[in-house]
């Protein structure tokens, strides 16, 4: 509002006091300058740490860059041709898809169930909310290292199972169990965040809707299906986009828990990218893999955004 007032007053002031300052130094320009200065730190940060690296990533992907040999030569689409023929890539994409699907399905469903349970007016819910949210505040690597010890063959999980008379598998050494372990460790780390978002959405659903539907004879399932789900659908969209994008960026958990193994069963795209760029010193191909990851994230986000028209009831 202040800006608008200044805008309208500026010409008059300029006309009434000519010569006190240059004509171009109007209140409107002053306000604009102030605006630009306010956003400058964020803008410069965005340019330096997001847009510039993004541009450089595309640039590097068209080059053969071997750090040790000191070579940086334009190679056209060579890295992309290699991408298309890379025999390891289908397995890597498969592991990425398995991880993402497992993570998104488990995370969202568990977060929603926890949010519904903790939305009840019962004693102790605040304690449970804190318990489920607290892993979000824990350092990711510390969390993962503790889980690595728990998941070892002679670790805490199998120790617990053995007291129940069950012989647990060697979690991080079996191809399927390793993937399950990585997904579960990641879900337990972050489910609290989605749970809080769902909880906030659930508490925003007007009580009158439930009262009216109860009077009309709707049972608990129908109330959930016909009222709760549509009313929290914007939050479902938000959490699903955040979780899908997050699932494609998983790195530290893989590095600490499995290093991509056993075999290559947990080598997801980001980890493969890291291996190529930082372990195999092939930054050009690593950049091409980054472009592929960027494209996948972009496409999935656009699809989810478009799909909102079908199942997001309101976007208030």
């Amino acid at each position: 509002m202040t800006l608008l007032r200044n805008d309208t007053a500026a010409p008059g002031r300029e006309q009434s006091r000519p010569g006190r300052r240059p004509a171009w130094w109007s209140a409107r320009r002053r306000d604009r300058l102030a605006g630009y200065l306010f956003i400058a730190p964020q803008l410069v940060g965005m340019i330096l740490f997001v847009l510039l690296p993004l541009g450089l990533m595309f640039w590097y992907s068209f080059h053969d860059w071997n750090v040790l040999a000191g070579g940086f030569t334009f190679s056209g689409t060579e890295n992309y041709e290699r991408l298309a023929q890379d025999p390891a890539l289908p397995g890597v994409l498969g592991a990425t898809a398995a991880f993402s699907v497992g993570l998104v399905a488990l995370n969202l469903s568990l977060a929603l169930v926890l949010a519904i349970l903790l939305n009840q007016k019962l004693r102790g819910t605040i304690v449970f909310r804190t318990i489920f949210f607290s892993p979000v505040a824990v350092t990711l690597v510390a969390w993962t290292i503790v889980w690595r010890f728990l998941l070892q063959d002679d670790g805490g999980i199998n120790g617990l199972l053995s007291t129940l008379g069950v012989e647990g598998p060697n979690w991080l050494r079996g191809e399927t169990t390793a993937m399950i372990a990585v997904v579960v460790v990641q879900v337990l780390k972050n489910v609290g965040l989605n749970m809080v978002l769902f909880l906030a959405a659930l508490q925003g659903v007007p009580k009158e809707l439930y009262e009216a539907s109860t009077i009309d004879g709707a049972n608990a399932w129908i109330r959930f299906r016909r009222i709760t789900m549509p009313m929290i659908s914007p939050t479902i969209l938000l959490t699903s986009i955040i979780t899908v994008v997050g699932s494609l960026q998983v790195f530290a958990q893989i590095d600490v828990l499995t290093s991509g193994g056993p075999g290559t069963s947990t080598t997801v795209l980001v980890y493969y990218l890291y291996q190529n760029a930082f372990q195999f010193h092939d930054f050009g191909y690593g950049a091409a893999l980054s472009v592929l990851l960027f494209a996948i994230v972009l496409v999935l986000t656009v699809i989810q955004w478009q799909m909102r028209r079908k199942w997001v009831v309101h976007e208030d």
């Binding site: 209140a27 002053r30 040790l68 290093s259």
Partner: protein, 422 residues
């Protein structure tokens, strides 16, 4: 008041302007930076002492900074610094990265600088120790640490299981892998502790298994690096032996289990002498002996660390001069406190004993000095990082109780053949 908002905005943006200022001039004395994978205070104190003495006599160098990087991911961090135009002047280089660094032109040739340095005694360097760091007779890095692998033994655990000590087995000519695994299995059965641990293998660091398979005359690939050796009969026999030791005899800890010899959790461990320091306050009786003999007889395996000057270093000439100073006979003797030197004249029990008071002259003689000349260096190849990853992934199926060893090894060769051919 009308300028208040503008002033606030300017204040918000001020840090950017400040950040844009800075930088330093290249004129005048230079500062050298060297990366290491040791953050040991003792190591750094010794390096700083050598650096201070150099700076006192060389005014063109005003400071030498030692920059310890984490051992895990050391080479990745180093190459990232190079890629980010922030290369150090000198760097420690792991033996498994040696072929990549030496063959790529990433390192400054050192032969001329070293041989022309007064009093350097270039010919004193042992050829077997420098081989990995040479190309076409040109030396690209100085192997500052050349350390054979040996076996640390917990005599108390062996006695508890009714087994003879390592010294007794050596005396009776029974110090063989077969007997070692038998003793390890007995320890596991009698005490629940693990028998023998190949340290740092942990079912990922497979190159440490060369301390075992060399005893069968096996090698990861042919000498010229072109042919896979994992499907050779010697390798199949060696890894079948190891598979049995893990899963049938339970003499070695299985995948996903940990046992620290130095905490008294295992009877024997294969590692380098530099770990002896961990036994300073060991509550058990211990010994250090050479690797056991395999079917192919006695052998030794050495691990190395190299020191090189990077071609993209900010000050390569000054760095090469400092390297010559740091590795001169006088300073090499100081380095020998912690790292077995590649100099013939300094490989004596007396020199090594100064730094390893926990080890007897006999232990140093039999494990280190007698074994360096004939030592086989751990496997390394150009494109080592890719090979390392490929071999690890292909070996994973071997570490299950019902694994078909020859089939896994044949698959492994199929996986790495294209990489060896590069």
């Amino acid at each position: 008041m009308k300028y208040t908002r503008l002033l606030l905005a300017a204040a918000a943006a001020a840090p950017l302007a400040l950040a844009a200022c800075g930088g330093e001039s290249d004129d005048g004395p230079v500062t050298l930076r060297m990366t290491t994978w040791s953050a040991s205070e003792d190591h750094l104190a010794m390096l700083n002492e050598i650096a201070d003495a150099y700076i006192a006599d060389n005014p063109e160098v005003e400071a030498i900074e030692f920059d310890p990087l984490a051992f895990e991911g050391y080479t990745s961090t180093l190459t990232t610094q190079i890629a980010g135009d922030n290369a150090p002047d000198l760097a420690w280089i792991l033996e498994n990265s040696a072929p990549d660094f030496v063959s790529s032109g990433a390192l400054v040739p050192l032969s001329e600088t070293l041989s022309e340095t007064e009093g350097y005694e270039y010919d004193d360097l042992i050829p077997a120790a420098t081989e990995l760091w040479r190309q076409d007779d040109e030396l690209y890095a100085y192997p500052f640490s050349t350390s054979p692998f040996g076996v640390f033994v917990n005599n108390d655990l062996l006695a508890e299981a009714g087994q003879p000590t390592a010294a007794e087995l050596i005396a009776s000519g029974e110090w063989t892998w077969e007997r070692v695994v038998e003793a390890g299995a007995a320890v596991h059965a009698a005490t629940g502790s693990d028998g023998i641990v190949i340290r740092d293998f942990d079912y990922t660091g497979w190159d440490n298994l060369s301390t075992l398979w060399t005893g069968w005359g096996a090698s990861a690939w042919s000498e010229d690096g072109a042919e896979c050796g994992f499907d050779d009969p010697e390798m199949t026999e060696a890894l079948t032996f190891m598979h049995d030791a893990v899963f049938a005899q339970e003499a070695m800890p299985g995948p996903g289990t940990t046992a620290d010899f130095f905490a008294g959790e295992a009877a024997m461990t294969v590692t380098q002498i530099s770990r002896a320091g961990l036994l300073a306050e060991a509550p058990f009786g211990w010994d250090l002996v050479p690797l056991p003999a395999g079917p192919a007889g006695e052998y030794s395996v050495i691990g190395q660390g190299g020191l090189g000057v990077l071609t993209v270093a900010p000050h390569p000439e000054e760095a090469a001069d400092f390297l010559a100073y740091m590795t001169s006979p006088e300073n090499s003797a100081k380095l020998a406190q912690y790292f077995p030197p590649p100099r013939e004249s300094q490989l004596t029990a007396e020199v090594l004993g100064q730094a390893n008071p926990l080890l007897t002259p006999e232990q140093l003689q039999t494990v280190v000095i007698d074994r360096i000349d004939a030592g086989v260096v751990k496997p390394s190849h150009t494109g080592q990082a890719q090979l390392d990853q490929a071999v690890r992934a292909a070996l994973d199926p071997l570490w299950t109780a019902d694994a078909d060893v020859p089939a896994v090894l044949a698959e492994l060769c199929t996986a790495i053949d294209p990489l060896l051919a590069q």
